[in-house]
Amino acid sequence: MSVRILGVAIFVIAALYTRQAGTYAVTFGDVLGPTVFPIIVGIPMMILSASLVVFPTGQVDWPAPQRMGRQAAALAVLVGYTMTLEPLGFPLATFALIALIGIILGGAPWKAVVLGAVMAPALWALFDQVLGLPLDFLGELFV
């Protein structure tokens, strides 16, 4: 079933992609223009994904709900990191990232917090101070 849904999703994307390709104008002196290559990609994609819908192969074992919850939590932390990195600065955001992912991965909470508290400033010192890769220290916290 999952493979069928994937097939439908790819088919829809490929169909929209191919239709959109037709709108790109051909310019003078460029025989194929920007249109033809996407069509060459899109049409076999539609055929192959349609065949996956009709004849799917392979069994997909999705994780149990509890583990899926763990994955969702980890994703939320990763997305949260992309949003807090600039406002909070590198050490603080990274501390939260390491501590939270550590807890989600089953580490003892206090150990994960200690790990984050040690590693976040250490990584900042390594990359910013030693290796010269500029990373914000406090972000926009006190601006």
């Binding site: 223009g33 997909v60 790990l115």
Partner: protein, 505 residues
């Protein structure tokens, strides 16, 4: 003779203090990444690429660092295979079959030493092969025109991952998704923005490094979260690290056979180190399993696959450097780095940048010696570091991944895109869709389109130019052959599983 003088120049390039430092660092990191279950060569190299960018190393130094990591992973994977019965990375799976039983029987030191020496033999033979054959292949490929390159790319997509036995339609779809992603951005010839949704972030196209770090590293974290976290395996205690040298000497023939099989598997497109070690083990079993000792701790069953996976990983560099078409996942990632550094691998690379090619080859000889030392006398370090628990390791890896990608462009948009690619990568992996063709499509798509359009401009719109040269015709015939073979294999496997299901039911 010419090769020797070029190699001599290569050693001059490789022997600068910076390059030697990077080489040793790469060997150490690589062995460690290989030994840690869950982190393999693709992830390791993908995580390190952004960092080499951020530090602004030149292409030669970057390649030396990453190839040392790549080779180091191949050495290190066996350590956890033997001591934990968990392969440190995918190619080391075969080593668990005889390596773990040997360790259980108290022969851990021997198993580690045999596999270490086998890795050295395999990798050294592969680097010798690389020095001899890559220039020959490059010289032959110099006659390729645009239409021939188009045909070569088609061949690469049809073959990569195709022999692995999964549904070939999924592999082709994966490549097509990559090509689709490659068309996003300003069209380089006409200047028309395509599929950018009017977002200026997408005008430059999708940065392959961002996509592949997401696809491999972030999806790995998601994969990890669905496994059991609590049951930590116990490593087999090793009394003495001193091996019996006679036991190593007895496996010399198995090492050589494994190297030969692995090397050939590595050079073929779409196979890589995993297939190399698998084929080496199967061949060795056919050859010398006279008393039924394989799978119960036969030293030859350790030597052959280890020699095989190291030989294959070296062999996979040949098509990557001389044709610009990688033969495995990790070499695809290395290709991504070279392209991002404005180095176009292919036949011209050998003429225009001999320093890069031969500096790299020379450094690989040196890397093998460094790795032999790290993996025999100093192996105790890695067995201790290997026991770092996952909950402590993965968060730090995630943080380093973010730093690296952020370091390239200082753009939060890239970080978001990386996480999105992580989810896509996870879903595709769950569906048995290999990610390597996708990365390859994203990398080569731009070039493939450019060559097609150039060929069509030369012929003024006549499609027959695509099959006008004997080279392209030959490549298309080869492509058709591979496709027929992979469909046949898939149908056969499908029938087998159905037959098994019938007998079970």
């Amino acid at each position: 003779m010419e090769i020797l003088s070029l190699l001599g120049q290569g050693f001059v390039v490789a022997a600068t203090p910076l390059n030697i430092g990077l080489l040793l660092m790469g060997c150490f990191i690589g062995t460690l990444l290989g030994a840690l279950p869950g982190l393999g060569p693709v992830n390791g190299v993908a995580v390190l690429i952004p960092l080499t960018f951020a530090f602004g190393f030149d292409p030669t130094s970057s390649m030396i660092l990453l190839c040392a990591v790549y080779f180091g992973c191949m050495y290190g994977g066996r350590i956890s295979s033997i001591l934990l019965n968990i392969p440190g990375d995918e190619p080391a799976i075969m080593t668990t079959l005889d390596g773990y039983p040997m360790a259980v029987q108290g022969q851990a030191a021997n198993a580690l030493a045999i596999s270490g020496v086998a890795s050295f033999v395999g990798a050294t033979i592969a680097v010798l092969g690389l020095s001899l054959f890559a220039p020959v292949l490059a010289r032959a490929a110099i006659h390729f025109g645009p239409a021939d390159y188009f045909a070569l790319y088609i061949l690469a997509f049809a073959t990569i991952g195709g022999i692995a036995g999964v549904d070939p339609r999924k592999t082709l779809l994966s490549a097509l998704i990559g090509l689709l992603l490659a068309t996003v951005g300003l069209d380089p010839i006409s200047g028309v923005p395509r599929y950018t949704f009017d977002s200026f972030h997408l005008y430059d196209g999708i940065e392959p490094i961002v996509a592949l770090v997401g696809l491999f590293a972030i999806s790995e974290i998601l994969m990890l979260l669905e496994m059991h976290l609590k049951d930590r395996p116990k490593a087999i205690p090793v009394g003495s690290w001193l091996p019996q040298w006679g036991a190593i000497w007895k496996t010399r023939a198995a090492m050589l056979r494994g190297s030969g099989v692995g090397f050939v598997a590595g050079v073929l497109p779409g196979a890589g180190a995993s297939l190399g070690s698998f084929m080496a083990y199967v061949a060795e079993k056919q050859w010398s399993n006279k008393k039924g000792t394989f799978g119960k701790g036969d030293p030859r069953g350790v030597a052959a696959p280890e020699a095989g996976n190291n030989a294959a990983s070296g062999g996979a560099l040949i098509p990557m450097l001389s044709l610009g078409v990688p033969g495995s996942g990790t070499t695809a990632v290395l290709l991504a780095m070279l392209i991002s550094l404005n180095v176009q691998p292919g036949p011209l690379l050998f003429e225009r940048q001999p320093d890069l090619v031969w500096g790299l080859v020379a450094s690989l000889y040196m890397a093998n010696i460094a790795l032999l030392i790290l993996n025999l006398p100093m192996i105790g370090i890695f067995t201790r570091l290997m026991m770092t628990p996952t909950w402590a390791l993965m968060p730090v890896v995630a943080a380093v991944t973010f730093v690296g990608v952020y370091g390239i462009s200082n753009s939060v948009f890239d970080l978001e895109m990386m996480v999105a690619f992580g989810v896509i990568g996870y879903v595709l992996r769950k569906m048995d869709v290999s990610l390597v063709p996708l990365v390859l499509g994203l990398l080569l798509g731009g070039d493939m389109e450019r060559n097609l359009r150039r060929a069509m401009s030369i012929s003024d719109g006549d499609w027959s130019i695509l099959i006008a040269s004997p080279i392209s015709i030959g490549l298309y015939i080869l492509t058709a052959g591979f496709l027929v073979l992979s469909v046949w294999l898939a149908v056969r496997d499908h029938r087998q599983t159905q037959a098994e299901r019938l007998t079970e039911g």
